[in-house]
Amino acid sequence: MAGPQFVSDTGVAPLPDVGLLDYNGVTFSCLYTSSVNGGPVPDEAGRVTKYVEYEISVEGIVTLDIVGATTDALWVGLRALLTQPGAPLYYVGKGFGPLAVNVPGGQIWDVAWGPMPKLLFFQPLGGSKSALIRWQCLVRIPEVAASTLLTGQPRDVSRVLQFNYALSLTFDEEGYTGWSARGTLEVPMTRTARDARDLQITVDAYRSRWLDLQVDLTQFRVVRRNFEYSRDRRTIEWEYQVEELPPMGLPPSCTLARGTMSVRHRRRQGGTVAAGITWNCSLRCTYTVRKDADQRVALEAFYALLWFRMQSSARAGDVPPLNNPDNGPQQPAANGQPQGPPQAQQAAAAAGTGALPGWARLMASAQAPQKASAFLTDFGWDEGLYLDSKSITFQASWWMIAPFVNVFRAAGTWRWLDGSAGGSQWAQSVQDMMGWASWLVNRVDEKADALIDVGNVNGPPAGTPLVGPPPGG
């Protein structure tokens, strides 16, 4: 006489299961043993647990269902269902505590696109009337208090799995500081539903909040920012590289500026002796202006420097007159003894992304031209075109008359118009583009990505974009 029969998705069994083991709608009968092996997974810093990883191992018997003569038909269905990732998992009533993962309406969701099943072993028994199987399923879940559960809700941008970074500090041969930070930002992601193919969000949604590093731009400039996204869109490996600014810094709204000013004695044609009072000054500068600013900011920066350096010759002291009734020395040391700074006072440049009105205020508020001993002899520029259109180079030369003792002051060496380079003016002009984004934000489009889930027997929900070709298509 046949005993009671309890029907499950893995066949008929004489007894009901104790507790529940169900994955993707496949409820196991009582004919199995199970074990759970796992442990905490530390973050990259090795300081905290970012989640706990459990591997549920099941060894059991698949029996005939109530209608089949062999396990073939039953097993075909089980193979597809038990290998599909991201499906709901129930492992309850086993003394392990409730483990219900990715259950609609539930609180515990896998944090890494799981649960991830693996079918390892199949052995037919009794002429295909039953089979011994071994099945494993990997789940990664947070073991936290209920109130702080990572619910996995798609738009919950307030929780991350890990944020840490390595630091590197360098002092170069010139004594300048450079540092870099390389880190990891990881967030939980899983399917919103078993058959979902789209991404509601990616780790990029966290970039503005978590990776907007604040650097003191009065001292440093950010020379490189790198964000590498993992294929599952859960992790960003990020990097910032920072260099200390030299004393002069950069003009407002410029991301790069280099230049040289040379001062040389004028020499007679073919002469070997320098003319001690007449100088050739040459200024050459190359600028790269941030793309969303008016590129003529480069010209304004050059004007500011050229104007200031030419005006500085007014501080050279009196040019020795020929009317020297005492026939005294033509260039006495007392001539042009260092005076106070020029009376020119300049307003701070406007903040913002290269707003020219800021330059207007800066230069217009400067002192009216003094009686300077400078004469422009050359002016020109080289404009980069096409792929080189990021930069432009200006050059200017002038003759300057200054006694030898005052040549540094007359040339304006180590000096520039207040607010025209470095300091808080440059910092404020580029602060918005030196963090998590530049003038282009480049947000990752979650709709441009999809789960090409050829292993999903149910197919994508209606209206799901980018599902890819059908299997074999």
């Binding site: 003191d216 020929l322 700074p341 707003a355 207007a360 217009a364 005052n406 540094f408 489009d445």
Partner: protein, 233 residues
């Protein structure tokens, strides 16, 4: 995969701020030039050449015979023995005629002073110099005087660049033993020849850099900014 992995951004993300297209900050800013006449000299070269005519008259005797003419040469150009030729003096100065000239010298020589030079100046014509006196003796303009000014360039801002050149001859008589040849002053080099020589040369004065301004710290930072902090909204 169709499309871009990154979201398309509004044009404004890469376009310049056009609100300032009608602003010209350089409108009220101008560059200096050598407007002061004393500093408008670009090039100046002026010198006085002194020519001395010793006042010599050389009297020649007519020949009474037909001696061979004198020749400085020693050997014919096509002489086969040219390469082995030797002589005490390569230049032959041995006269063939045994006669002597009579040299007659004037009581006084003639000193001629030629004032020459050129100049380049911005904005102003170059005044042609003149020689007034040499050693308290008046310089008398001679037969030859040439000078001109012309425009040779147009500097930025509409500043004419003048070039001048001159050559002027003067005769000076009655020079004393204490007279000195004149050396003109140079307005482009801002030096005169009789200036007192310095004992030493003062090094150029330095100046502190722009960051070291009175009342301000050498290095400034944005107030309240920590050195490194993750910024969160």
């Amino acid at each position: 995969m169709p499309g871009s992995p990154f979201k398309q951004e509004p044009i404004a993300g890469s376009a310049p701020d056009t609100s300032s297209q009608y602003v010209f900050p350089e409108q009220s800013i101008s560059l200096p030039w050598f407007i002061d006449p004393a500093t408008s000299w670009l090039v100046y070269d002026c010198w006085v050449e002194v020519h001395l005519d010793a006042g010599i008259a050389l009297h020649k005797l007519l020949p009474s015979s037909n001696p061979d003419p004198d020749d400085l040469g020693q050997v014919a150009t096509d002489d086969p023995a040219l390469d082995a030729f030797t002589a005490t003096s390569g230049v032959n100065i041995a006269p063939t005629a045994p006669f002597q000239d009579v040299v007659q010298r004037m009581a006084t020589p003639t000193y001629t002073f030629i004032l020459k030079g050129y100049g380049l100046r911005a904005g102003y014509q170059i005044p042609i110099p003149l020689l007034v006196e040499v050693g308290n003796n008046p310089a008398i303009p001679g037969a030859i005087q040439r000078a001109y000014n012309k425009i040779v360039d147009n500097a930025p801002g509409g500043i004419p660049i003048f070039f001048a050149e001159w050559e002027k001859w003067y005769v000076v008589t009655g020079l004393s033993a204490s007279a000195t040849a004149p050396v003109p002053a140079n307005p482009a080099l801002h030096i005169r020849p009789d200036a007192e020589l310095p004992q030493t040369v003062q090094l150029p004065w330095s100046q502190s850099d722009q960051r070291n301004r009175p009342g301000q710290s050498t290095l400034t930072t944005i107030p309240g900014l920590p050195a490194f902090q993750r910024r969160r909204q």
